[in-house]
């Protein structure tokens, strides 16, 4: 029996799908026209499905564990449904973007450079992470970021070609730039600066940056000044002891305190709701994640709660995939905490690989209605307005040093 009626609650369904994946037989895969050459495996490589209430999910369907999922993808009269037992719900499958088929002038497939996740195009120009070379990589990390120190660094031009192609398809509302760990005091922002500048110069798109907390706050000022509209310093684990254990690199070379200080400072520099940190659900007790949620929302930082899906290659042992029962209290708290602290939740939305605070409202006992603002920000005009306001705010707040 489905205790939570997950099929009819998009957030429940999203989490369940993220945890357990979805079955899809070969015939369905063929009829859907999924081209398996474009990486449908890995942490973020599943199938992007648009659930009711505009909720995106990235669900695994090729991995072993997905074969025993209670959900099944079915096609009826050219319409797609997710079926569980006798019930089903209509969904849309997002085909892999057309630009995945293209390559840069230098011959690199754009699908290697940019990955679409809902309304985001995620790009990691340098896929290396030095934690791996020092044996202090995050224990849950499957090395999806890392190429053992030999990864190709994509040039600004290659990244621009990717954003351009995504933009032409109308799929680059937000460009999400990230970087692994390198032993520099700036947390990687100096490396990302030319990319941010170039994207801002050529496209009217918002840019989110995922980096490591820099040693000094002026790098955070510069991150904002150079054009980042949102910043993420992912602490991943809130519990002090588990942070040390699971994220030894982050602990030793950056430190928990610095994560907190940098996020606190960034929340004063960036607009409300645009500074975020990941807290991985399931890698620490729910109470500890809840503590983290309450703490971060208290300093106006948005906690983003991905669920850890076991991946081949990660050396996290004894990991037990949490159940829906385990994670629900956490998401409920997320919604109430963001509301209580008046954090703008329109920014972190439409991401298929994590559960956003906006979606967390489906766990609270509120109606599913979208707010007026939420509706507006989904329109073309809303996207343009968000970009315009963000640009205007930066113009007003940033002053060149020494100006008199």
């Amino acid at each position: 029996m489905n205790k939570y009626k997950t099929l009819h609650n998009p957030a429940y369904l999203k989490i369940d799908l993220m945890l357990n994946g979805i079955k899809a037989d070969n015939e369905t895969i063929q009829r859907l026209g999924l081209d398996l050459r474009y990486g449908y495996t890995g942490v973020t490589g599943g199938l992007d499905i648009l659930l009711p209430h505009n909720t995106w999910v990235n669900a695994s369907f090729l991995e072993e564990f997905a074969k025993s999922s209670k959900y099944e993808l079915v096609l009826r009269d050219k319409k797609t449904f997710i079926k569980a037992g006798d019930e089903s719900v209509k969904v849309d499958i997002m085909p892999k973007p057309e630009f995945y088929k293209l390559s840069t002038a230098t011959g690199i497939p754009l699908s290697k450079i940019g990955a679409m996740h809902g309304g985001y195009v995620a790009i990691t120009p340098d896929t290396r992470c030095e934690f791996f070379n020092m044996n202090i990589e995050c224990r849950y990390c499957a090395g999806n970021f890392n190429s053992g120190g030999s990864g190709r660094v994509y040039t600004v031009e290659e990244v621009l070609e990717t954003v351009d192609a995504a933009n032409k398809e109308g799929k680059a509302e937000i460009v999400y730039l990230s970087i692994g760990f390198s032993e520099t005091p700036d947390g990687g922002i100096e490396f990302l600066k030319p990319y941010i500048k170039a994207i801002k110069k050529h496209f009217n798109t918002l840019v989110a940056v995922e980096a490591l907390p820099p040693k000094e706050n002026h790098f955070i000022d510069e991150t904002y000044a150079v054009g980042a509209d949102s910043v993420l310093y992912n602490m991943e684990i809130f519990d002090e002891r588990l942070f040390k254990e699971i994220c030894p690199g982050r602990d030793r070379l950056i430190g928990r305190e610095r994560y907190i200080d940098a996020l606190k400072y960034a929340a004063k520099v960036f607009p409300n709701g645009t500074v975020a940190t990941h807290l991985i659900v399931g890698l620490e007790p729910a109470e500890s994640t809840i503590k983290g949620i309450d703490f971060f929302t208290g300093i106006r930082v948005v906690p983003i709660l991905p669920i850890y899906r076991p991946s081949v290659g990660a050396n996290l042992l004894n990991y037990k995939v949490p159940s829906l029962d385990d994670v629900l209290p956490v998401y409920r708290d997320l919604y109430h905490a963001v509301k209580k602290n008046k954090i703008n939740i329109n920014w972190v939305r439409d991401i298929s690989v994590i559960t956003t605070p906006i979606e967390a409202r489906f766990f609270a006992k509120t109606k599913f209605n979208k707010t007026l603002m939420e509706r507006f920000y989904k329109t073309k005009l809303g996207v343009k307005t968000a970009w315009g306001l963000s640009t205007l705010r930066r113009k007003l707040r940033v002053r060149e040093g020494g100006e008199g």
Binding site: D221, Y224, V269, L396, R397, V398, E400, G401, G402, G404
Partner: protein, 475 residues
């Protein structure tokens, strides 16, 4: 990338941004009002317009809304537009000797810095004499002062800053807490400030004052003459400063042998003294000799520019190396200030202000000197010391005319105190540099600075009263 994020609420930022255009509208209205009211008795139309322009420049210089140089350029443009001087005459004033002296001084000072001579002198002397906490303070303080006799005090402060910072770090002094660190950085700032008023070379403001005097009255002040008038104030202020640094800020450090290594490393880094250092040293010595003894006959600007030419003939520096030391903003500012000063004088505006506004409180020459020097010393704490001169000197020269005072006295009365800004980081770059270290707070600086400011004013007036008559300056 050097950015500052304004974290005030957006509405406050928007309001403050909209204040700027509003400010200019208000300034324009003030200008329009001053030129359109009936011309007061004793003042011609040109004088009235010049006063209106002067008020506008005063507001802009004091508020700092426009860079000082741009306000000066505005003055140059407006003087002919208002019909006070013709175009040719207004722009010709920009070719004033003082402007070229300042240019030459910037280049020479840049050569001394670039050759490494200044840095070497500082490190060698500090390592030789700075063996105890007090002696180290004394070496920084007196050395910064003496170097500021010969080159821009701002350049001296900038040169000393990394060395003093390394000393503070080498001694593990706590920023904002250590009393010794405070005295180290205050010694640096005060040394530069006090030393900077000793000669024409410490800051460009003295040549500006002298240039303005010459344009307005045709009277010249020589290098030696100025130094003779300023020197007792400098000397006694140095003693007072040293007393304050060691008595009011007693050292909380006993042993400073650790920094010996810092000096040794620095000396090693400098290597042996090179040809350029020798040559620049000799050229500087000859230049100063000529300024002192032949300045009146040859002209100090001629000497400065000739020395600059020699620098390049012997390839002691390249233009590229020197460019960063030449503050073009200050040069433009001075050109404009001199033009405006001359317009004030020639249109009769300065004399009119002196007659009507100032004659109320000006009962005797000594009171005039006391009040003008007080006004100067207070204004210079809050604004650029060159701007203080640009504002006060034209009026001061008018006052001199009314009371039959030697205008040179008024020039000294404004030029010397204009350099003595001790209280705030914005008063002068040397203070800003000290506070930027993080070891001295703006509060520490203000507390100690107020005492220095009062001492400077009292001392200056005593010097005027007792010493000036002895060297033939009759009041």
């Amino acid at each position: 990338m050097n950015v500052v994020i304004d974290k005030r609420p957006i509405w406050v930022i928007l309001l403050s941004r909209s204040l700027r255009p509003l400010f200019f509208v208000v300034v324009a209205i003030i200008f329009w009002y001053l030129v359109s009211i009936p011309t007061p008795d004793g003042l011609g139309l040109e004088g009235q317009r010049t006063i209106a322009l002067f008020v506008v420049c005063l507001i802009l210089w004091v508020s700092g809304v426009l860079p000082l140089a741009i306000t000066s350029l505005l003055a140059i443009v407006m003087v002919p537009l208002l019909g006070v001087l013709d175009k040719k005459a207004a722009y010709a004033l920009f070719g004033n000797e003082a402007v070229f002296f300042i240019l030459g001084a910037f280049i020479l000072s840049g050569a001394v810095m670039h050759s490494g001579l200044a840095g070497r002198t500082a490190v060698v002397i500090m390592s030789r004499f700075g063996e105890t906490p007090k002696r180290l303070i004394a070496s920084i303080f007196f050395l910064a002062a003496v170097l500021s006799f010969f080159m821009s005090e701002h350049a001296v402060a900038a040169m000393f800053f990394p060395i003093v910072l390394e000393i503070a770090k080498g001694l593990n002094l706590k920023p904002g807490k250590s009393v010794y660190a405070k005295s180290l950085f205050l010694a640096l700032a005060w040394g530069c400030i006090i030393g900077g008023v000793a000669t024409f070379l410490g800051g460009a403001r003295v040549p500006l004052a002298v240039g303005m005097l010459k344009e307005a009255t045709g009277i010249n002040i020589g290098f030696f003459e100025y130094t003779a008038a300023a020197f007792p104030t400098v000397l006694i202020m140095l003693l007072i400063g040293y007393f304050m640094l060691t008595k009011f800020l007693p050292s909380d450090v006993e042993d400073i042998h650790k920094i010996k290594a810092v000096f040794e490393r620095k000396i090693k880094e400098l290597g042996k003294i090179g040809y350029a250092e020798y040559a620049v040293g000799v050229l500087m010595a000859v230049t100063i000799f000529l300024w002192l003894f032949l300045g009146r006959t040859i002209g100090i600007a001629n000497i400065a520019i000739a020395s600059v030419v020699v620098l390049f003939v012997f390839k002691l520096v390249r233009w590229k190396d020197i460019e960063e030391y030449v503050n073009w903003g200050i040069i433009l500012m001075y050109g404009g200030a001199i033009t405006l000063g001359a317009a004030m004088e020639k249109s009769g505006a300065a004399a009119w202000i002196a007659n009507t506004v100032i004659s109320e409180w000006a009962r005797s020459p000594l009171i005039i000197i006391a009040i003008l020097s007080l006004l100067t010393i207070l204004l210079t704490e809050g604004m650029s010391n060159a701007a203080v001169i640009a504002i006060l000197l034209p009026v001061g020269i008018g006052i001199a005319g009314k009371f039959n005072l030697d205008p040179r006295i008024i020039t000294y009365t404004i030029a010397i105190p204009a350099g003595l800004a001790f209280c705030f980081p914005m008063s002068t770059p040397a203070n800003a540099i000290a506070v930027s270290s993080g070891y001295v707070t703006a509060r520490d600086m203000a507390k100690a600075g107020v005492l220095m400011m009062i001492s400077a004013w009292v001392l200056f007036n005593i010097t005027v009263f007792i010493y000036w008559p002895l060297i033939g300056i009759k009041i």
